[in-house]
Structures are given as structure tokens and as C-alpha cells.
Symmetry: C2
Subunit: 315 residues, 2 copies
């Protein structure tokens, strides 16, 4: 699937993905009214609204982008009905030949991580039948539990030819609280040798990835926030064969010029994600002329601008 992702990036000439992270505040009134008229102000009504909203955006931007990244929390907030909308969104994007990265940030002890991996990337055995749960192409994984929480995901990726991105340095303001802490190398008492935890995790990602390669890159990638470009530069070197998923372009503050060092010299190795900056574009001054009715066209215009910003930075 990493090869498919790279192929899609080359074909669309755009190392970008759109985060499908719907909230009730982002969904235009006309969509909400229609959904509530049918299902009431219920979880089902909300789920219908976010699904219709997503569909409009995907229809408008699919030809411009290689991949999407639905954030499952934004669906899970609406309970089971929200997850129905998540699943529909995954299916629909796959039909549109988009690579789907489930931003699920799961991670647990071995047998439990296996259940997550099976549910999102693989197949679960029911009697003598193999069944597929959510069916994303990639997922994001939290490494806090160590190798035996990560390896079940790797195994399923291997079997199913899928991929994953391990959280290394997240985009949020307090990510440094634990991730930046200086840790001593094992068995070492020389404080000058201490390095930030995110580098230690990055090295693990490189190790895990070395034996799990696509044609050019590993299918074990990493998440490094656009908001930390200097750290991205270091991590790029620590993990030369890992694809880096770079969230937080746009609304969270990352800009094209900050992103150059996340890429390798081949122009590959990173994919930049923007969520609210795209899907909520119609609410921004810059794209306000589209209005809520044409929210999907506003999203399309924002994708075009984002592609251009990144292309210029990489040129």
C-alpha cells in the first residue's frame, strides 16, 4: 500500500492529504437541516449530516489528492451512528481510488493491538468466514506501550499489504511534555549522551521499518507535526526510509516553507495533511465568497492553494 500511496502522490503531483474531521460546527446549515428533517436532532441525524458533508468534499477534491485521513474521534463522538458514517466514508474514498489513512492512534498490549489491527486493516475470523471491519489502508499507531503493542499492527500490514504511521512527534503544543524529555541511552550514565524521547521512538520506527519495505519506502511510517520543522529535519535523517505523515498544515499553523526538510532529496518521503484548513475553508475570510452552499468548491480551492504552496516550497 505504500507503493500505491507513492504512485498516487506521483500521479496527482501532490504530496498532500485531506483530513476528513467533521464537526457539527463545520457542516453547513443546509446539510444539517436536510439530515435533521429526516432523522431528527439525533446521533443518526448527525451521522447523516457528516456523511453528506464528507461526500460533497470528497467529490470535489478526489481528483486532486492521493489520500484522505479521516480522524475517527470526530465520528466516535456520535457513538455507533458516527462510526457508521466513518465506515461509509472509508468505503466511498476507496471507491474513488483514494488511499485511506484511518487516524485512529490506537495502541495497546499485544493481543489487544492485534484486535485493533484486524478491525481496521485486516480480517477477523467468524466461524469459517473471514470478515472485514473498517477496512482502512493505513492507520496511525501510538507507541507508548512499546514493541509488543506495535508489532501486531506490523504483522497485519505485512499480511494485508497495508501500512501504518507511528506517532513520533505530535503537532500539539504540549507534545513536548513527554516526547521531548531527554532520555539516557540504556545502561549509560553520561548525561551528555541523553537524547529526546521522540528521537528514541524515531530510531525504533526505522528499525521496525527496515524489514518491512515497499519498493522505495517502508510501510512503517511516522507522524511528525508540521509545527515542529526543526525536529522534522532531525527525524528525516534518523528515519530515511520511513514515510512521514505531517499533520497540522494550515489551521494548526504549519506553512509550506516549514515543510521542506520533511522530504528527502527524491522529493518523496513526506505527505502533508490539512483538515480544518480544507474542509472548513468556506468559513475562512479567504474563501468566504463561496458561501456555505458551495463549501465543497471552497475546499477544492483551498486544496489547489495548498498544493501550490507546497510545490513552491519544494521547488
Amino acid at each position: 500500500m505504500i507503493d500505491k500511496l507513492i504512485e498516487n502522490i506521483k500521479k496527482k503531483q501532490a504530496p498532500v492529504m485531506v483530513g476528513l474531521d467533521p464537526t457539527m460546527k463545520l457542516v453547513p446549515e443546509h446539510i444539517k437541516q436536510k439530515a435533521f428533517a429526516e432523522y431528527g436532532e439525533t446521533l443518526k441525524g448527525a451521522a447523516e449530516a457528516i456523511w453528506m458533508y464528507n461526500k460533497g468534499i470528497v467529490d470535489a477534491v478526489a481528483e486532486l489528492i492521493p489520500a484522505v485521513k479521516p480522524q475517527i474521534a470526530m465520528y466516535e463522538q456520535f457513538g455507533v451512528e458516527g462510526l457508521v458514517a466513518f465506515h461509509k466514508t472509508v468505503e466511498y474514498c476507496k471507491q474513488k481510488d483514494l488511499v485511506v489513512v484511518g487516524d485512529i492512534k490506537r495502541g495497546d498490549i499485544g493481543s489487544t493491538s492485534d484486535a485493533y489491527a484486524v478491525g481496521h486493516l485486516g480480517q477477523v475470523q467468524v466461524g469459517n468466514t473471514m470478515c472485514r471491519g473498517f477496512g482502512e489502508d493505513f492507520v496511525t499507531v501510538n507507541p507508548y506501550l512499546g514493541s509488543d503493542g506495535v508489532k501486531p499492527f506490523i504483522e497485519v500490514c505485512k499480511q494485508e499489504k497495508k501500512g501504518m504511521f507511528v506517532l513520533v512527534k505530535t503537532s500539539n503544543p504540549s507534545s513536548g511534555e513527554f516526547q521531548d524529555r531527554l532520555v539516557l541511552p540504556e545502561g549509560c550514565t553520561d548525561a551528555s549522551k541523553a537524547r529526546p524521547l521522540y528521537e528514541v521512538v524515531g530510531e525504533k520506527v526505522a528499525q521496525w521499518g527496515a524489514d518491512h519495505m515497499g519498493a522505495e519506502y517502508s510501510y512503517i511510517g511516522a507522524v511528525v507535526g508540521a509545527t515542529y520543522p526543526e525536529m522534522g529535519k532531525v527525524l528525516r535523517e534518523i528515519m530515511p526510509k520511513a514515510y512521514i505523515l505531517v499533520p497540522a498544515y494550515g489551521a494548526q499553523g504549519g506553512k509550506g516553507a516549514d515543510l521542506v526538510h520533511f522530504f528527502n532529496k527524491d522529493g518523496l518521503g513526506a505527505i502533508i495533511s490539512s483538515s480544518r484548513g480544507i474542509i472548513g475553508a468556506y468559513q475562512q475570510e479567504k474563501y468566504a465568497q463561496y458561501g456555505p452552499l458551495n463549501y465543497a468548491d471552497a475546499a477544492r480551492a483551498a486544496v489547489i492553494d495548498m498544493r501550490e504552496d507546497i510545490a513552491q516550497a519544494l521547488a
Copy 2:
């Protein structure tokens, strides 16, 4: 909700919870056959099977225990249908006056953690209506993203009078890979002052919890695996007011005698969880006489033995 949990523990005289972590291998044949006859070997068939299996266990053990801990991954592996079974299980356990700890190990950037918190503990606004998603009483939270990934859960707990357990030291073999790494105090270059990451996280839990107290204990608790009793002893002192959820009793290797130091002198402060050791008891030699048809009675017997083991250790 921490007060309700403690009240339930006192009433049932048992600081134990049962992990409702169903897998197809644990569900007895007669239940699977019935579910598959109705829904086929499908995700819906699997979901019906695990729900019926859970219901049997809950009916048999509810009067003996204060709380249950469904592990959401075991449901999520069956996709949306599995999560329907999760939700039914949560609802049913609440009807039985059990405190429900959703073992979800979520954690993300601020706005995303808020969506998880709302979906699992709180209410989401749909139009002018407030709707409830999954409705657990407590959840487990992954701290890797730092304070701003944790605080939205705290806010929702405060509003809704619910609670949470932050992963501090997990029970799995490789938990030490990152959690045990020695980290330098901020701004310090003296290697002799370095301490394991789990202690640093434990201190944060104590800080977060200090302003969020029930009558005796904070509603911000911690997860510390039964498999690491020595670390539990240290963490008990670092977090005197945090309730400690101690998984991995039984199948993963923890024993009653290992658990004494997780408790405070008041006999409170910890709750021990067992999953497979209880719900899969009928598959163990010790309880084999019950047979698969009486799997729930086997679970009940295993709960009684677990209560006794812990009571003796604490005596």
C-alpha cells in the same frame, strides 16, 4: 463517579473488576451456533455472539463485583456491529449498577481528545439537542501527547462527574521500552537525577488529580500493571490520591500477593482487573468441570476465587 466506585467496592467487599474482552475463541460453541443460525457467519453474527456471551457472564457475576472493564478493541475488531455489542454491554452493566470502565486508551491533540471524551463520557450537541454516544463511567487514557491531550477528558469528567485512568506503567512485557527509559529532570544535566518516564507520568497524574477530587480519592486515576509490583509500590507513593487500576491479574501473570503495595493503608486506592482469567475460566483445567454450557458459572467461581486471593493478600 469515583465515590460511586469506592462505595461499590466497599459494598461488595471486593476491589476487583472483570474485563469483558470477548474473542471468538472464548465464546462457547452453543452461543456461536445460535448467533450464526440467526445472522450467519457475519460481523453481526459475531456481535450477537459476544453480546450473549457477555450477558451470561454479567448476570452471573454482577452481584459479586463493583465494576466491569470492557476492552473496546475486542468489539472494534468486528467493525460497527462489534461496537453495537460494546454499547449494549455498557448499557446492560449500568442497569446492573456496575461501574463501567471503558478500556479505550484514547489520547490525541486537544480538539480530538475532546471528541473522544464527549463520545465516551459526555454528550455531543446535535442541533439544539444533547446526545450521548457510548456512555461509560470511566475511560482509560494514553498520555503520550501530553497535557493538552489529557485535559479535555478531565474537563468532561468534571462536567459529567465521571472519571479516568491514565496509562502510567502498562502490564505488557515491552512496556519498559519507552516507559522505563531514564529521563533527566527539565533543565538538569546530572545523570544521577534521572528517573524512569513512568514516574514522570505518575507525577503528572498526581498533579492533574489534585484539583479534581472526590470525597477521598481523585477521579483522575492511573493504570499500573499487576506484572510490575515493585514499580507499583513507588507509584503508589507518588500518586497517593489516585485510584490505581491494576490490569493483568490472572492470565497475564499477576497474583494476589504481588498486589498488596498497590493499595493504601486504608485498604483502598486500587482495583484489580482480570479478563481472560474470569471470562474464559471454563477453558482452564481448574474450572473445566463446569463445561462450556456453564461458562458463566465457571466465571462466577473464578471471581469468588479471585476475591478470596486478594482478600487474603490484603489481610
